[in-house]
Amino acid sequence: MARDAMCYVDSIDEAAIVQVVRRWREAHPGLGVLAMVPEAQAAAVGRLQAIFRGEQVPLVGAVFPALIVEQKFSDRGAWLLRFDEAPFSLLQADLPRDGDLAPAADALAGALKPRLDGAPEVTLLLLCDALFPRVGTLLDELYLRLQDRAHYMGASVGSETFKPVPCLFDAERFVQGGLLALVVKGSRGAVLEHGYRVPERMITATSTAGNRIMQIDWQPAFEVYQAMGKLLYGVTITRENFYEFGVHFPFGIVRASGTIVVRIPVALDDDGSLACVGEVPANSVLALLAAPQVDSSRTVETLVTGLSEIEGPVAGKELLLFYCAGRRLHLGLPAAEAELRALGQRSQAAAIAGALSLGEIGSSSEWAYPLFHNATLVGAVWGPA
């Protein structure tokens, strides 16, 4: 039975939002709200904050490239997701882009750990500015410190153009370069799936810095990227068409488990280096992936099955979904929306509140090692199991 914990408003209209909030507050006086706003509506965040300050309801939120509303992508309105009790949240601006991350991780973990201890099921929902290049390392460091006290899920947020913009907010602040961490009690985590397969041919990123690959096999990265594209897939990648091809030919970091972690190259510099969404460890052995002929039904099946294993049947429940923007680019809008429709049909969810993301945090099953991915879908049941 739907909990009425998700509400889409097609505009950031005070009256409509106040009406929703007040309705929710009648049943849940201690409520808090997570807002997902498309980047086209980022200018309205201030108004949203003012409304929630006026209503004295705790607000946190993020700006995404687009929203997912009724199995379609939308750049209007906003999703409002209710917490029956306002969760503990931590909004940290300007995380260190280089240098030792341990002090920042210590500070975050130090603040979060007391909120996690003793909670029977809790998910750490992490929303991170996509321009913070070290999400993977930060995730490793948090997992090292917080261990299995929580399930981990999240997404990278911001502008699809990868321009630096404020993209994380609460009722008072609107920041960039940082992280919003939410302690979601009663949640048993998320399931992540991308559907890529490990190819035969490997290359080595011989020079990297954070999310930037300078050299592959000791040659300028873009030259090797071009050569591999030609050799493996017969495509001619140039500087001019790079932004079209990048999402179709991402890198894959190969894992011993037979799976890969996808890194979509999203920027090409004059020196031939390639910037990805997410870190590429130095000397990583990479695969140049051909974007899969996505079997949407298989992807959806895996996702729903995984969620069912965690939460039981998802039919009638409300789902939160992060859908990779690169995946939408690769598949194209019709196929991507078809995938969304397939998910809706397969899950029979009461509602799916989703957003287009610029990187995803999660794992393929409950209690698996959390990783930062590209090109995936991350789904979670919204609300207590």
């Binding site: 997992y143 261990q147 490997m202 037979g258 460890p281 000397n283 090692y369």
Partner: protein
């Protein structure tokens, strides 16, 4: 996984292992990468081979990721089922075995065991049944071997590092202690210690430098050293010297002790002694200067120099006075005798009176010379300085005239001093006269008394006093003041700033001599145009004041026989004549040998030996000894123009030895001879008069 996939994973692991040099990061990163690659959510690292005990083993859990309960037990020894920690790589789905893991509430389903070649075991745990491609345990064997070696290397490295750190810490502690000791020494140093870099900028400034120059360290640091020197005299050469020093580490001032002037923060100049040495720090020449304020030393040198000059002048003045005294004894005595033999109406009498007056003035001058040279005979008594001033005040008021006001400020509880009261009056007189003369248009003279404690430092500064309690007489005027040139010479005899005929130049010399001979010190403070203060320090005396006895007025004579020994013929003849005129029998001899002969020839009694102290061949005390050897009852009276003689012969005279200072008057001689003869008779051991 194909071969290339395996190689890719192994390559990644090998790169991680090779990039760490410390154990904890090595294990952490390896375990993180293993979890990443295998999708296992939990990893445990047990270091060192487990010890087996029956069905279980004991192993130290070094690191745990993914299970917070086990992570909390990191560092402790766990008891585990033996099947869990074998020496072979293994992947097993064995919930019952894993249920014996303990320390966690999580029911694990499967584990991947990766032995680390004798260095321990890595255990990866999964709470869910394995899905997808099962991991190949042996895939990781090569990197586990690498990890084992890396663990050994890291441990060695950390042990060496710990050793080095311990050495470094010990060295730092030693350095800190040494630096602390050096700093404490530097802080405690009496001398200023200043260090400069090659550009002469001050880089070290000890507390003594703060005291000497007046700049606190924070203000002095970074200042150019030359700013502490008088600009006109030194800064140019110092600039040039430092330029050479910066280039070569050499300079003309290095290795020498220099005396020069420096400038305090308040702008005053003062003399310093400076020695500079060079040190090389971080490839640059630096200079270290040790600097002493020698103001006090210069002052003491000046005090000593002046004292030595005054002593030398005193010796000369004393010698001259002695010779004059011999002449004046003759002149004055014969003049008095001649006057005594003339009737009152004799025309020659007026001439002789002038001779006598001139002689008395000359005698007064020689007395002042002797006073300056500290060779006059004082008659010290314990007295109150306040009483002397009160008795003398009326006379002083007459002396200074109406233009000058005289005030006194006498301390109510003033200690006594031992001094000759007439000489103190002389001192007061001279100082007041000088003060009056310094105020031709009028002014004020203030005479004060006080007590003062002179400590060792003050005594050293004054140069002429011992530490102790002193009575201080101050005479202050509001006159013209004394300039530095005059100040340096004003106690010299015959030095005067007064017009010819207005002063003898012996006033302050007399003050100096009397005060010094009384164990005191004269201090002068003066400012030109403002006035002058003379302070006389006299040692405080504990004994009560003594009343002064009356002087007898007549010239008593006698009939005793007196043996006179005097090598100065004029004095001998005069003495003989005076004594004969007083009724005595006189055996006049011109020296010891002649006296002893006379003694031998004279069969009758001899009552008194009257002898000069200093004579050729034999001095007076030796003669007296020889005479007493023959005739023990003979009384002895000494005469001398040198009180210094008395001091020199002090070991042979007892205190109270009869003595008369030349020049003496016939009446004074008469009284002293009679007094000596009577004293000898009173003792009963002397020859009775006929």
């Amino acid at each position: 996984m194909n071969r290339e996939h395996v190689m890719a994973v192994l390559y990644d692991m090998a790169m991680v292992i090779g990039s760490e040099v410390e154990l904890r990061p090595l294990l952490k990163r390896c375990l993180q990468r293993l979890l990443y690659h295998t999708s296992f959510p939990v990893g445990l690292v047990f270091l060192d081979p487990p010890s087996t005990s029956g069905e279980s083993v004991e192993a130290r859990l070094e690191l745990a990721i993914g299970d917070h309960e086990l992570a909390d037990r990191a560092g402790s020894t766990l008891h585990l089922p033996a099947g869990l920690l074998g020496s072979e790589p293994a992947f097993r789905q064995d919930p019952p075995l894993l249920a014996q893991l303990g320390g966690t509430h999580r029911p694990y389903q499967a584990f991947l065991r990766l032995p680390v070649d004798g260095q321990g075991v890595i255990l990866l745990l999964d709470p869910r049944p394995p899905r997808g491609e099962p991991p190949l345990p042996h895939v990781f064997a090569p990197v586990m071997a690498n990890l084992a070696r890396a663990i050994v290397l890291c441990r060695d490295h950390e042990a060496r590092s710990a050793g080095l750190v311990a050495e470094r810490d010990a060295a730092r502690r030693g350095f800190a202690e040494s630096a602390g000791t050096l700093r404490a020494m530097s802080d405690a140093a009496f001398d200023a210690i200043i260090a400069c870099d090659g550009a002469a900028r001050i880089s070290y400034w000890n507390p003594a430098a703060e005291r000497v120059f007046g700049y606190p360290a924070e203000e002095a640091m970074g200042k150019v050293l030359h700013e502490l020197l008088p600009a006109m005299r030194y800064r140019g050469p110092a600039d040039e010297g430092f330029r050479r020093f910066r280039e070569s580490g050499r300079g003309p001032a290095l290795g020498h002790t220099l005396e020069l002037e420096a400038v305090r923060k308040d702008g005053t100049e003062f003399p310093i002694e400076l020695s500079i040495s060079s040190i090389r720090l971080e490839g640059q020449w630096c200079a270290v200067g040790i600097l002493r304020d020698i103001t006090e030393r210069r002052h003491l040198e000046e005090v000593l120099r002046r004292s030595q000059k005054m002593d030398a002048l005193g010796q000369v003045a004393g010698g001259v006075a002695h010779d004059f005294n011999n002449l004046l004894v003759v002149i004055n005595s014969y003049a008095e005798l001649a006057m005594g033999s003339l009737p009152d109406t004799a025309p020659l009498r007026a001439d002789l009176e002038q001779v006598v007056l001139a002689g008395k003035r000359a005698a007064a001058l020689t007395r002042q010379l002797l006073a300056f040279s500290r060779q006059q005979v004082l008659k010290p008594v314990v007295l109150s300085l306040n009483d002397v001033i009160r008795d003398f005040e009326k006379m002083l008021r007459r002396l200074i005239g109406e233009e000058v006001e005289l005030h006194t400020g006498l301390a109510a509880e003033l200690g006594r001093v031992r001094a000759d009261p007439s000489q103190l009056e002389q001192v007061l007189f001279n100082l007041v006269v000088n003060a009056r003369d310094a105020m031709p248009s009028g002014g004020t003279i203030l005479i004060e008394t006080a007590e003062a404690e002179v400590d060792a430092g003050r005594a050293r500064h004054l140069g002429e006093l011992r530490p102790g309690r002193y009575v201080v007489l101050s005479v202050t005027d509001t006159g013209c003041g004394i300039d530095a040139a005059t100040m340096s010479r004003m106690f010299e005899p015959f030095f005067t700033t007064k017009a010819p005929g207005k002063g003898t130049g012996l006033g302050l010399a007399t003050v100096y001599g009397v005060v010094r001979q009384s164990g005191g010190h004269v201090e002068v403070q003066s400012q030109v145009g403002q006035g002058t203060t003379f302070r006389i320090y006299l040692p405080r005396e504990a004994a009560p004041a003594e009343p002064a006895g009356p002087e007898p007025a007549h010239s008593p004579g006698g009939t005793e026989t007196i043996l006179v020994a005097e090598d100065e013929q004029a004095v001998l003849r005069l003495t003989e004549r005076v004594l004969i005129s007083l009724g005595y029998q006189v055996l006049a001899t011109s020296g010891p040998a002649e006296a002893l002969e006379a003694l031998a020839r004279h069969p009758g009694p001899i009552h008194l030996l009257f002898t000069d102290v200093v004579m050729p061949a034999m001095d007076g005390p030796a003669l007296a000894e020889r005479v007493r050897a023959e005739r023990p009852q003979v009384a002895v009276l000494y005469m001398s123009g040198y009180p210094g003689d008395v001091v020199a012969a002090h070991g042979r005279f007892g205190p109270g030895t009869p003595f008369i200072q030349k020049p003496f008057t016939p009446s004074a001689l008469a009284r002293k001879v009679r007094e000596t003869l009577d004293a000898g008779a009173a003792e009963g051991g002397r020859v009775a008069p006929p």
